[in-house]
């Protein structure tokens, strides 16, 4: 059972962070960051399975592969910016966190430009 391992590690890391927070807040921040990364690295194979399933479905449904790769990229950017934002918020740096999240949103919007223009093309074809 993988979830038991993840729950155990998460609870242990939380207890250690609380122990460290009073004496050394810097170490507590590094520890919570490491715990987050370790747990994500543990669930990477499952995420890869889901991504492979999505790609297979797109190929079977004869949808352009451009769309699914952009969506995967968008999910990756959203995850990374959310992760960094939460770490900054844990450290009490609300301003940096919101800037990171804003940058993530803007990059996602830039990545979505081909999809938006494809949708617009489709509309124009339907209307005209």
């Amino acid at each position: 059972m993988q979830i038991l391992q993840i729950v155990g590690v998460g609870l242990a890391a939380a207890v250690l962070v609380v122990v460290l927070r009073k004496e050394r807040p810097d170490m507590a921040l590094l520890l919570s960051l490491a715990a987050g990364v370790v747990i994500f690295l543990f669930i990477v194979p499952q995420v890869a399975q889901v991504a492979r399933l999505l790609e297979e479905l797109t190929v079977r449904a004869h949808v352009k592969l451009l769309f699914i790769t952009s969506i995967l990229k968008i999910i990756g950017i959203a995850y990374l910016s959310e992760f960094a934002g939460q770490v900054c918020r844990d450290a009490g740096q609300e301003a940096i966190a919101s800037k990171i999240e804003m940058a993530g949103k803007i990059i996602i919007l830039a990545l979505a430009i081909p999809i938006i223009s494809a949708v617009l093309d489709l509309f124009m074809k339907l209307v005209l």
């Binding site: 250690l16 004496e23 050394r24 520890l31 990364v37 370790v38 994500f40 950017i77």
Partner: protein
Amino acid sequence: MTLDVGLIFKLAGIGILVAVLVLVLERADRREYGQLVALAGVTIAFLFVLQLLGNLFTAVRTLFNL
């Protein structure tokens, strides 16, 4: 991919060790050494975390082909 519990405990160990050392050094009127020890501890822990972050970035890059 295995769950790397050892790293978490290593970081916690470094943190507790540094906290105790700083406490002892400050009690012995060596405040400047205490600060140096704290800085060294944070740097070592940060190096560990940096390596881990590199792993995270490569994983995300291959996963979502960024």
